[in-house]
Amino acid sequence: MPETTFLDSTELVLNMGPQHPSTHGVLRVILKLDGEKVMGTDCVIGYLHRGVEKIAEARTYTQFNPYVDRLDYVAAVSNGLGYCLAVEKLLNTEAPPRAQVVRVILTELNRIASHLLWLGTHALDIGAVTPVFYCFREREEILKIFEKYCGARLTTHAFRIGGLQYETYDGFEDEVKAFCDMFPPKVDEYEELLTQNRIWVKRLKDVGILNAEDCKRYGVTGPVLRAAGVDWDLRKAQPYSGYEKYDFLIPTRQNGDTYDRYMIRMEEMRQATRIIRQAVEGIPDGPIMAKVPKVIKPPVGEAYVSIEAPKGELGYYIVSDGSTQPYRVRVRPPSFVNLQALDRMVRGALIADVVAVIGTLDIVLGEVDR
């Protein structure tokens, strides 16, 4: 019997990453191919694992706060909000109204910044070079506001347990309002470049479909879930930080393909601008810190608190043993869980679609690997 060699195999195994521009970091995907068709994938992750959950156990609650910014580093403000809310829950306290409104403004600005970075790089992956420059132009305005507010542009450490450390600077409201006036026409501008663009539509329509049923099976949340027609957003479902006071819509679409996810994120940027405008016009006066002790020592217990981060449900499960250091901090990262659906989305698709699907999942490897 003749020996079987690799030439007899119809399957080709191709390694993609970890150094690959369209894997958005250090994701390695092992692709099994039949010609150009993807037969299966295996994600190799962990290249960016820094043991953040272990570090938490050796820091105090306050000391650990800046570490969470390094998880999803393009949406650091959201990470900080989730962590602060979780510790506040354990302490059974709440940030004062003024702090909550400023938190909402900064978090929504960060949502826009995160979506802009996604749009720019996603378009770049697909082959449209122009949008990234436009996106970074507007993102710069947001980062300038962050920088003026807290001195940092990316890893902002904007919030403290119990409220805010910094009062807003002079002219904060005017600058945020100016951004709200400037931004919506820019979203139209991006849409003009892409939405009807024939190449864009051909590359995205019916690519990487994930229906509502599968989203729930795989625990996928965020824009991916809403693109599949599920009207679910934690800001509406279980409001926190006063989101119930704002008038905004949760965009949904029906097909659950890459194009729909693009449309969802575009609309979310508009809705975020609406929230910011309402918030900035009604910033109440008052203190910015709740009365929390200098040394944070939550009673023995545990809590799970989650927020709607730009990528999906970001949760913190914190166990306190009554000491100054958390006994266990578990971060439930949306990117990690969403990435698991990649295999389901690209099976049977073409290899070029893998790039589009990784882009549309909007993963950040800092959060996947922690």
């Binding site: 272990k54 829950k89 625990g219 809590a303 799970y304």
Partner: protein, 193 residues
């Protein structure tokens, strides 16, 4: 050092002994509603303990009941979204690990946690057949805590390298701990610290 020298051995304390420290336990209260009654009917009295803390409900069960309970909650009670699986290490306890499952129901807009205790070396049953999400989540628990899952389709390490020895999130794993051999062989340095 301004600290005083330790007092000379004196049998009797100067004042009355300080009150004994209150036992450090979570001040959870019992939880009862339609769901808990339904589950008691289904699984029998005392099979599940229902608790609530800070408005968050959780159920304490025996390890062999977890899959059945999660399946029932998915099929019969609408808890169709498995949010997270994680573990907590309590090394001084006989059954050292808490295994925690967080579930959410879209129709009820409610969350519930399921907690069970697993001993060192004991394997939990995998919930992958019920919730495919559990695949990576259980792999992470296995990687970080060394808890095995029977019936898992692909139980490998996920964040740490495949050949790594040790489970970093165990309490007896030092924060500076590492797999010396792996680091030397693969990175060519003595320590990554």
């Amino acid at each position: 050092m301004a600290d005083e020298k330790p007092a000379p051995p004196k049998p009797a304390p100067p004042k009355a002994a300080p009150p004994p420290k209150p036992p450090a336990v979570m001040a959870a209260t019992p939880w009862e509603d339609n769901l808990t009654r339904e589950l008691t009917d289904r699984f029998g009295d005392g099979a599940c303990e229902f608790r609530t803390y800070l408005g968050q409900n959780f159920i304490l069960v025996k390890p062999d009941m977890v899959v059945g309970l999660i399946e029932y909650l998915k099929m019969g009670a609408g808890f169709d979204y498995l949010v997270d699986i994680t573990a907590v290490d309590w090394p001084e306890r006989a059954e050292r690990f808490d295994l925690v499952y967080i579930l959410y129901s879209f129709s009820r807009n409610a969350r519930v946690r399921i907690k069970t205790q697993i001993a060192e070396g004991q394997r939990a049953a995998s919930v992958v057949p019920v919730h495919p999400t559990a695949n990576w989540l259980e792999r992470e628990v296995f990687d970080m805590f060394g808890i095995g899952f029977t019936g898992h389709p692909d139980l490998r390490r996920i964040l740490m390298p495949d050949e790594w020895q040790g489970h970093p999130l165990r309490k007896d794993y030092s924060i500076l701990g590492q797999d010396q051999r792996w680091v030397e062989e693969n990175l060519g340095v003595e320590s990554g610290q």
